[in-house]
Point group: C2
Chain length 557, copies 2
Amino acid sequence: MNVKNNEAVRVTPLGGVGEIGKNMMVLEYDDRMLIIDSGVAFPEDDQLGIDLVIPEFDYVLKNQEKIDGIVVTHGHQDHIGAIPYLLEHISVPVYGPKFALGLLEGQLKEHNLMEKSTLKVVSAGKSVQIGQFTVDFIRVNHSISDTCALAVHTPLGPVVYASDFKFDHTPVDDEKADLQKLAELGSGHPGVLALFSDSTNVEREGYTGSEKDIQESLERIFSGADGRIILATFSSNIHRIQQVVDAAVRHNKKLAIDGRSMENSFETAKKLGYLDAPENLIIDVRDCSNYPDEKVAILTTGSQGEPMAALTRMARGDHYHINVKDSDRIIISASAIPGNEKFIGETINQLYRRGAEVLYEEIADVHVSGHASQEELKLMLNLTDPKYFVPTHGEYRHLYQHAQLAQEAGMPEENTYIADIGDVIEFSRDEVRKIDEVQGGDVLVDGLGIGDVGNIVLRDRQTLSEAGIIIVVLTIDQNGTLLSGPDIITRGFVYIRESEELIEEATKRVEDALKDCEKEGITEWSVLKKTVKDSLKNYIFNKIKRKPMILPIIMQV
Amino acid sequence: MNVKNNEAVRVTPLGGVGEIGKNMMVLEYDDRMLIIDSGVAFPEDDQLGIDLVIPEFDYVLKNQEKIDGIVVTHGHQDHIGAIPYLLEHISVPVYGPKFALGLLEGQLKEHNLMEKSTLKVVSAGKSVQIGQFTVDFIRVNHSISDTCALAVHTPLGPVVYASDFKFDHTPVDDEKADLQKLAELGSGHPGVLALFSDSTNVEREGYTGSEKDIQESLERIFSGADGRIILATFSSNIHRIQQVVDAAVRHNKKLAIDGRSMENSFETAKKLGYLDAPENLIIDVRDCSNYPDEKVAILTTGSQGEPMAALTRMARGDHYHINVKDSDRIIISASAIPGNEKFIGETINQLYRRGAEVLYEEIADVHVSGHASQEELKLMLNLTDPKYFVPTHGEYRHLYQHAQLAQEAGMPEENTYIADIGDVIEFSRDEVRKIDEVQGGDVLVDGLGIGDVGNIVLRDRQTLSEAGIIIVVLTIDQNGTLLSGPDIITRGFVYIRESEELIEEATKRVEDALKDCEKEGITEWSVLKKTVKDSLKNYIFNKIKRKPMILPIIMQV
């Protein structure tokens, strides 16, 4: 490190680059640090049994005395979900918009961390001093209320973190993005040092539609309905929920809120003033049948086909209070998070089978994205006119394409940096470059265990999931003479009743292998185990081309 | 069954309705039967470890003496892949287009069934007599060469099975769909009794693009390339391959064929006259480095991100002969089969990381679908003008929407039938109705085992995949006194080194539970086992909220 600490700004992404999810960055200047967001990711298909993935905090823990605070941009799980896990280790204040902190509060309570946490609300348009850092909170639009971009001021110029954003010129809550502030930063002295911007929708040309576009669709959907309306969306999308509330009011329907996260989100948003719903509008989901169908709308979870969510239960026919019928009009007002397509498809199939009308993204205009498309990304670049550019929030292909887009918009290639998790990126007056690499990656959360499941465990789960396990139990005496067994027990392998012959023959192979050992006077456990394992493995593979896990249990008495 | 066998036609789908894949139908008239297609499906996410899914053949096997033949429409796996499994049980001739039978031949050889099989080629535009049935083979367009719709003539009128199709007015091989024949059937006496039509793309408005649209893209891609061109597509898409061949010839490049299925398909297509490639065009993939990069194009497998396919190996950096470099232009000329999105995304990320330029469906016009969109589906309906309509090739939502589309185009609702697998659908002069239900469903193929993996095995694999297994081994004497153990062995559960305390405490719980049993004089195995299992299950769940499989192994000596 040949640049003095106060002549350069360093930013280290600990998540959210080269992946979708668990957004987290550490910004460092003159030996003080600020954490920007700390979110979770959903497990990949090969992370079997894992509930959540959080960033590796090692770098933060090692530097905890340097950290002045955590700043959050909005309340989505991929930006705040890992904060409780972080606050179990470090004690620093968290700054953020009111709605984000409202949602965070609920999670901190679940983790029994609320008492020792300090949450400080900062409104959009305001600045806050955190140690040496002045941080501006700048209104942008997104699929959750109260999203802010950040400008962290440093002597080398402000670092702008665009967060997840789009530019919605007709937002539902009339809170337009603060184009003026972004422009002011862009024309300031010193100008913007670096822009970190959202790559999620970089593959999409043009502009992302306004949230208000949904209003027209909802109007048509509500107007044409003879029966109940059931609408599923993300529980955090308060603008969408507001529009459903408004449509229900306009069409003189009662509205039931279904699903735990929808109830929580609805309540939090109402309490904090982000949602405006008349008292007499809301009914309990258990009371829907007390009203004529055409007077009922239901707002529900399950837009991703999650197995336990309310809409999924309705589709499956095991919802306690709602039986889907053919006069129902059901709207899935969301797009599929990659990996969920099949679950959503199955929910739609089941709802159709129950005779309901189903409207979803592929066949009706019932969703707009919360992320900027190409023209908005260029607008963000040109408003803030940064010296350096780092694409964030995307898999590698998104970051790469966003870097290319920036270059088309005039950003020099050498001022663009495509980051990997753990890169310590240094921005000086002359250049951007990687000066170091710190530990970073996935920490797996499985139940209450954090980090106790790793590659070996996952590899075993993979093997078990593909072909199950065969356990061979036998007892030998000190001379290696078989006293009982070998007994073969299988789980997840084959139907035993259909495969008696296979198991009998397998048992014989193990017996033969053991006899050979006895003849040769082999009594070492490790050799016996290996012999049993290999004889079985080869037999099973040759016979039915499967590779179950094989576990010999040899008892010596 | 109150309609005489010769006064109605019966059709029983054994796959391909309410699902994508394993298309198969049995058509029956006057006690004779014809099988139409017999394909495989890919396993669902919850069918862990399964390689393939084939239709339940029970109904066919029970009626095998009535079957006059198998008719196939085209050579895709979801239409022919289960035929080898069927021919292991029954011996009937297979009729089909030359290319489909060419591909089938390869598979029958692998199953050692070629000698006892009879394959009879029928050209598009021709008819064949199979027992009492006259079957017309009618040219349609699709993403594999030589696809035919079928008209099976019966005294009540022809039954038209549209197969997978689109109407391509500018096909690459100049083999246009036989609109005249379809129209002739539609205007005949008796008119078409029933139409079975492809619902895959029913969600798409308008017309599906022509395969020739790709030519323009390929021209642009080949023209602008300074280095190698690497193109991945489905190996059965001979029209696409022909266009790549043509582009390579036009641009004076050599073409290497990479990946086993691509080589096989290329060879078969060439041999059977479906592919026209000059001899001096093709080079061995090992020889690519002998030519300047700008003279090399590579046609490869891996368009779905399949782990072992050639392009995936290149992306991962473990291909034997091809190292991807930044002058390479790589084209993924395919769309994702649902469920493969993440694999393809990962391949693209890795290729970008190697510096290559990557073009794929989301950002470039490099693929068109092989299935009809809404306007073509209506055209098929109006050309054939059937009395009854059965949507096929789709999940329930597709079938439902296709039925609605047909009704918009004038088909009476009561003449539309949305089928489930196993429905015996009877078409008489007066009505279409379900008269019976036969056994049908998924038979799982896992390695060489067919049908030996069922729900219990899959549920075990699911449990094992989510939290692994804990095995408790102990030895007791006749009085239930513990002689050795309990020893706890885990796989796929936790890192033992990180969780020594947990395992120690768990062992103690088991010991305590056993002591309680001993005190109470309990020596029954089943009770002991349940006690061990429950004590461990409760402890583990309370402690870390996981539910591993728990398997007590109690040896009595």
